[in-house]
């Protein structure tokens, strides 16, 4: 049992370390983006520079806020508010999606995200 337990710990540690390595790699390999694209049901609604603080009302559905180089969603009218809980995004390819309202906020540019897919 004791030996098995040590194996368990090693296995769990290995998985967590792999996760950390993947996380570090994806952070290193993606660049900070310059603008965010706000889309409403797939169509481009607005494009905001990340360098300037701003607030954008998206058709009364939610507010996209750009602050200190990161974009996030506030005051969403949707039911589950998952979009609001998403931390600010700033790296190319990062996306906040509000599926109920069909609003997506994506940092423009080629994401380095798909290198290990």
């Amino acid at each position: 049992m004791n030996k098995l337990f040590r194996h368990d710990l090693a296995l769990i540690l290995a998985i967590v370390l792999t996760a950390l390595a993947l996380g570090a790699a994806s952070t290193l390999l993606t660049k900070e983006g310059e603008t965010v694209e706000v889309r409403l049901r797939g169509e481009l609604y607005a494009e905001l520079p990340l360098s300037r603080d701003a607030e954008l009302d998206v058709d009364g559905l939610c507010t996209v806020v750009v602050k200190d180089g990161g974009a996030y969603v506030r005051n969403s009218s949707c039911r589950n508010k998952i979009c609001q809980r998403h931390p600010p995004i700033s790296r190319a390819g990062e996306t906040i999606a509000c599926l109920p309202n069909g609003v997506t906020v994506r940092v423009a540019g080629e994401g380095g995200a798909d290198f290990y897919v």
């Binding site: 098995l4 337990f5 194996h7 368990d8 296995l11 769990i12 993947l22 994806s26 589950n80 994401g111």
Partner: protein
């Protein structure tokens, strides 16, 4: 009671319990952090239990029944595909690790949790054509492993208390 009857009864019991745990988890929002894909997955305790108390085929049956029942009652079709992919991958990993004999239910279940999230996210990325979804993998892996280990610990604790009187 014959051994076969006992096994069938236990299988039914585990399937029902599995389903009950899924529902319980649905009713306890505190168990989820609101991010899709991150959850305790308590129902997997029953899958692990079936794997250890009955066998791989029985565990596969419980797992499939869980996924289909959840889909019929609370799910969507896309949700079903994610669950099937996650369930199948996690199951394969758990069987291999259990067979290796090197790990206790805690390690087996932890790896199963991690594999579940890999399968789920892989299908989600493929189906939505959004490879960037894989960015969530590190977070999901960490939580999936923790949840799996927790489920394995719960199973180990329960197993100690429900030792069958007769050997199977």
């Amino acid at each position: 009671m014959s051994d076969k009857t006992r096994r069938i009864a236990l299988l039914g019991l585990l399937t029902a319990l599995c389903f009950g745990l899924s529902y319980l988890e649905l009713m306890l929002p505190a168990l989820s952090v609101g991010v899709p894909g991150i959850k305790a997955g308590l129902a997997n305790i029953c899958v692990v239990a079936a794997l250890y108390l009955l066998g791989p085929w029985e565990a596969a049956a419980v797992n499939l029944a869980r996924i289909l029942l959840n889909w019929l009652l609370f799910g969507s079709f896309t949700g079903l595909l994610y669950s099937l992919a996650g369930g199948a991958l996690s199951f394969g990993v758990m069987i291999v690790l259990k067979k290796s004999g090197a790990f206790s239910p805690v390690g087996v279940s932890a790896a199963g949790g991690a594999a579940h999230n890999i399968g789920q996210l892989g299908v989600a990325a493929l189906m939505t054509g959004t490879p960037a979804l894989m960015l969530y993998l590190p977070v999901l892996l960490t939580f999936g492993t923790a949840a799996g280990a927790l489920n394995g610990l719960i199973f180990t604790a329960v197993q100690k208390r429900i030792k069958p009187r007769r050997k199977e």
